[in-house]
Assembly symmetry: C2
Homo-oligomer: 307 residues x 2
């Protein structure tokens, strides 16, 4: 087992060419920039990566290209949870085989109102079929998008059945009381709770969590990592407020994923970064200009970012 | 172009072995029973088929096995809409190549609150990439599950751009006024509206729709087909009430898909039919017994069904 990841992880946005094919070189470059500027790990193929707009093969190929390109597998926590059990097994086994630090798993998200028993069976089948002690499974709770929650009762049952494999959670509920409840219930057993947004990072560290996995880290890894490093110091609150300001600008745009890509496009002076895959739509030039002016007014920079 | 399907279509439930692998022989047998007992077509790989719990490869293999096993492709309307654009293109092209009468497409369903422009691009890309005049695309509107709607404005735009490819819709909104609005707006242009439940069949035919694609047709194709054949006669209302009674029993169970499978398991005396893939959970023996007693009390039969 590799060492567990902590700190600031980015669900890395996936660059596409104009024909919507994934651009492996841009992807690799962005991953390396993130690791050089504050990210301790990369939760590639998350929601903000448009992972659910990619086929299983596209995800596997991109992951291999990252590792071949020099991104340490020990810093990777790819998303591997799909709607279909067989896809989740395939992606998870692939990630473990490559030596990834962990796998971040959505629940199967098409069927709604399913019982915890069915979700338990889903994760249980994945763990058993992958059948590899190296697997470190992180549950991905994002009810606003997946519409299928991961409850405390489900976590308890999974931890009891697979204490060595079930490593933690990313809580993207946006509800701090839920994150707190997860920490209170399971952190003592070594279960690691990541906040799903940097706005909860300071609170999460103070409560006993281990970091955050957040969209904002795609453009502001340095600002968010500063909060992480200083959380026990008097500067923590001020640095958190600085990070919140950037987050606030990003998420007040028309749509978060296109906003992140437009931000990178601007600072890297690389307009192809604007492209998103359907069903998402890129920001208009006017929307981008508005966002950029707000970011510049806030003194925001992406140091060292390149086309 | 093959002739368009009308009448009663079943979103065929997919049988699994105890290890959750699809059982092609049982699937073929059930498809043939459906075509022999009232279904004019088979909307395999719909919501009730647990299609979103199957990988792309599993769906392609099963479809090929049906055609090789003697199910006419001209009676098949497989579901081909996935979360990932590349998967939707692959499945749709495969269905067209096999000669299927149509493809029933979900919108990409992971990302929520996406603009119609993004959904238009999704369907447009599929039509253009498949690039085959034989493609007959049926839009699948099922907001309670997909959580991503297909609006009238989107249909209008797609029909304008691709009048030969955009053939119709399955409306599983459960909202009759929406089905009526789709017919009123587009039926005159040859756009074919299927109700998403047999409970709307008579109304749909009277309003100018062409049939229904309904879960209930998995077990009661004969009863629903009777409504379809008699819709212009005085017996239509009585036959609709009979079909409604069976539907009511099925959907009052704990969960619809497991209930359909438990029903087949009982009448075919083939308990392996109970199996559902996670995240769904099969009915308990007690739940099945309750449903069966209600069905028997209503005089319900599945004539000719076999293990």
């Amino acid at each position: 087992m590799t060492q567990r990841l902590r700190g600031v992880l980015s669900p890395v946005v996936t660059p596409f060419r104009k024909d919507y094919t994934p651009d492996a070189q841009r992807f690799l470059r962005h991953c390396k920039w993130l690791l050089d500027h504050g990210c301790s790990g990369l939760a590639v193929f998350g929601t903000n990566s448009e992972a659910n707009s990619l086929s299983v093969e596209e995800r596997m190929t991109l992951l291999e290209q990252l590792v071949e390109g020099g991104v340490p597998a020990a810093q990777l926590m790819p998303g591997t949870g799909c709607s279909a059990l067989t896809d989740s097994v395939r992606l998870t086994a692939h990630a473990v085989k490559l030596g990834c630090a962990g796998a971040l798993m959505l629940p199967p998200f098409y069927y709604k109102g399913v019982p915890d028993e069915g979700l338990f069976r889903n994760f249980s089948e994945v763990i058993q079929r992958v059948g590899d002690e190296r697997l470190q499974l992180y549950l991905y709770h994002i009810p606003p998008v997946a519409q299928v929650p991961i409850t405390l009762a489900l976590i308890e049952r999974l931890l009891k059945a697979y204490p060595k494999q079930v490593a933690g959670v990313k809580d993207s509920s946006g509800d701090w009381s839920n994150t707190q409840a997860m920490i209170d219930a399971f952190a003592k057993q070594g279960f690691e709770v990541f906040a799903g947004s940097e706005v909860f990072l300071l609170r999460n560290m103070q409560a006993g969590g281990v970091g955050c996995i957040t969209a904002g880290a795609n453009v502001n890894p340095h600002g968010i990592d500063r909060v992480y490093r200083a959380w026990q110091t008097p500067e923590g609150a001020k640095l958190q407020a600085d990070a919140d300001k950037v987050r606030q600008i990003l998420q007040s745009q028309v749509s978060m994923i296109p906003a992140l890509k437009a931000c990178i496009a601007h600072y890297a002076q690389d307009l192809d970064w604007m492209t998103v895959r359907p069903p998402l739509v890129e920001l208009t030039l006017g929307e981008r200009a508005k966002m950029v002016s707000e970011l510049l007014a806030a003194g925001f920079e992406m140091p060292g970012i390149k086309a």
